[in-house]
Symmetry: C2
């Protein structure tokens, strides 16, 4: 297979392992979805139900475990958010984040018979977070060699997590921000498929988040989908899915797409606010939502196009409101998510306040990654003698 | 509802929030499964598909996200294990372990209308591991107060993970091993439901692991299910499910149940080896599989009965073979599991060597919890200047 790449912006077509159009914008795979119907969904595991919209069929092993994450109605969060909250729990993926969808699709294509031309038989990624872990895991499952480029100052604990899957890990000295585009050039020249966060194969896998959401609501549709947004790759995949479902005529209404960012690095929200049609690089700021603190998102302009197309918006959130949403998700809904994922709930609240989302709207917050691997605030506990336990429990009951 | 408890050993019936029969053995819920058919499975999320075999219907929110974990065929592990390996990936649960099934079922019953009599409106658990995290999360989702009893020397990082769900955490000074049974006495007296690991409500939730496995194989059945075993609660739930499916006549053959333990604390395996019908307390030993290092399993004797009933066995595994299995799961299958879960794969290998499992057998390894929250070995990475990157990547490709 050698799926055609197409530019969402200018419509140009490309073939091969290319991520960028000559116009400069990001490419995605061309999919003919016009004849798709919900009856075409097959009884395959996880994200592989949508075989007719994907370039490859369900492999076994870890691949089969990707996607198929819970989508749950969460009334206990309605008061906090101000609308009807549904959570898409991406922490349920094997490595704990939505990144598994793109890693699984990418590596399934690369290892498939009649695979991608020109043939590559190694993969790489530029990440020290969820994408590094996910790409390494699926590379291990596929048997392909994998190289992960991390920053020089990566914490030891993160290196341990990535290393368990036995990739080659290289710490890169110099401007880490330059690496993303640089590897997209080096990769094809060196027969390495860099599964960076907005490349066509990864975006194609990540569109399944929205396919699952829309299938759950069919024949209705949610009013809005709120997505923590960094590179814009996941946001682009979700938009692509909505366009495909719309072209197939199976979407009652197109949900509005909202990109939520950390205010400290919110180039998409800033571009949206000033009515720009292109995203510009901003200064990098410190934020608790470090997973999405991307000052120069490669698919930022594509995300803006998605917002305009679906009548959505973008917002940047301050750390205190992100942390409050994170605490609320844990203490009210029992769900531990990383701070960057909590921006989805914080974002709904802000968008309701701004009049973008109505209190009667069904809104899906995409919680992109688990919080159980994060180092959280602090914990403390009273010490009690075993002989005094019954009295202490009585006191607990009477609290 | 006030489901009847029944003793698997002597057949006595009890009502109310009681965990132990007057004969001393563990109780479980009485379920009439005789008329069950796979067509009774409903289109509900996760573990709630088996409504007709459960005492409560699917709640929403976090509850709906429990269970429904991937079951994947993993050919890349066949050579290591010596049989046909399938993995039941319990790390896909919202808090990363199978404990969510029991927590969800228990709290769903306790918060349901017409709930358990006598009414309790607080929950507790004795755990500093996965069960503490899971019980706290589902208590938060249910809105019930929760008390977690942890040992005096609990690491700060674990306390942080538990505390995000806002339970009352008490560090208990004294013999932590005594607490388990002590709380089963104090609980009813103080109207606190202690969802300890082998109580009837938790076992009832944990039976859904086996319902999902058997439904996936139906109309066939796996030859064997291999389960990391600590208290014997999960093992008991899996056995209960098999008995129910057998009584309903929907199981082609009853899979053999294998309990795998860490040799350092392997009371069930030791009792099995000496042909005993009861499990005796052993000395606690140090093991990398600390989650299952239980020297005095409350449902150990019930696990022995399950082994005898299904023609299974029990084995104790040494740390080096556990660690080798853990590394193999990550590097060959891309799956990160905690060391205790890796005993399932190590166990298959040992049981094949012992002639208990045949090379043509379809064997399900229940990987009970994710390894992504563990602190793993070590990681290291070469440092490379960005200008030298292309040459370094070329070297990687040529490796």
């Amino acid at each position: 297979m050698s799926a055609t790449r197409r530019c969402y912006a200018c419509g140009s077509r490309e073939t091969g392992l290319v991520a960028r159009c000559s116009c400069g914008e990001a490419l995605w795979l061309e999919t003919d979805a016009d004849s798709f119907d919900w009856n075409d969904v097959i009884d395959a595991p996880g994200m592989w139900r949508y075989e007719s919209l994907l370039p490859v069929s369900a492999p076994d092993g870890l691949f089969a475990a990707a996607g198929g994450t819970p989508l749950v109605r969460e009334p206990s969060l309605d008061a906090f958010a101000g609308a009807r909250v549904h959570l898409k729990v991406e922490g349920g993926n094997p490595t704990g984040s939505f990144k598994d969808r793109g890693s699984a699709l990418g590596l399934a294509v690369l290892q498939a018979d009649g695979r991608e031309e020109p043939a590559v038989d190694a993969v790489g990624t530029v990440s020290h977070g969820n994408m590094a872990i996910s790409t390494s895991a699926y590379a291990a499952a596929s048997g392909l060699p994998c190289v992960v480029l991390v920053p020089e100052d990566i914490p030891e604990s993160r290196l341990e997590t990535i290393s368990q899957f036995d990739p080659t890990v290289l710490r890169v000295a110099g401007d880490y921000g330059r690496l993303y585009e640089r590897t997209l050039e080096i990769g094809p020249a060196r027969d390495i498929a860099f599964l960076n966060s907005d490349v066509p194969l990864r975006v194609e896998g990540q569109k399944t988040t929205a396919l699952e959401i829309c299938e759950s609501f069919a024949p209705d549709a949610p009013d809005a989908i709120v997505v923590p947004t960094s590179s814009g790759g996941h946001f682009s995949g979700i938009w692509k899915a909505l366009r495909e479902l719309e072209s197939a005529g199976v979407l009652a209404d197109v949900p509005r797409l909202y990109a939520v960012q950390a205010a400290a690095s919110a180039p998409i929200a800033e571009a949206y606010d000033r009515g720009a049609s292109e995203v510009s690089r901003v200064e990098r700021g410190e934020t608790v939502a470090y997973s999405i603190g991307n000052p120069d998102p490669p698919s930022g302009t594509r995300a803006l196009a998605a917002i305009e197309d679906t009548d959505g918006a973008a917002v940047g959130l301050e750390d205190p409101e992100i942390l409050e949403a994170q605490r609320t998700l844990a203490s009210e809904a029992g769900l531990s998510v990383e701070a960057s994922s909590a921006t989805a709930l914080a974002g709904i609240r802000r968008l309701v306040d701004a009049g973008e989302i109505d209190s009667s709207d069904d809104v899906v917050a995409v919680t992109t990654g688990t919080g159980l691997t994060d180092h959280l605030g602090s914990g403390s506990a009273d010490l009690v003698e075993i002989e005094a336990l019954e009295d202490r429990l009585a006191a607990f009951r009477d609290d």
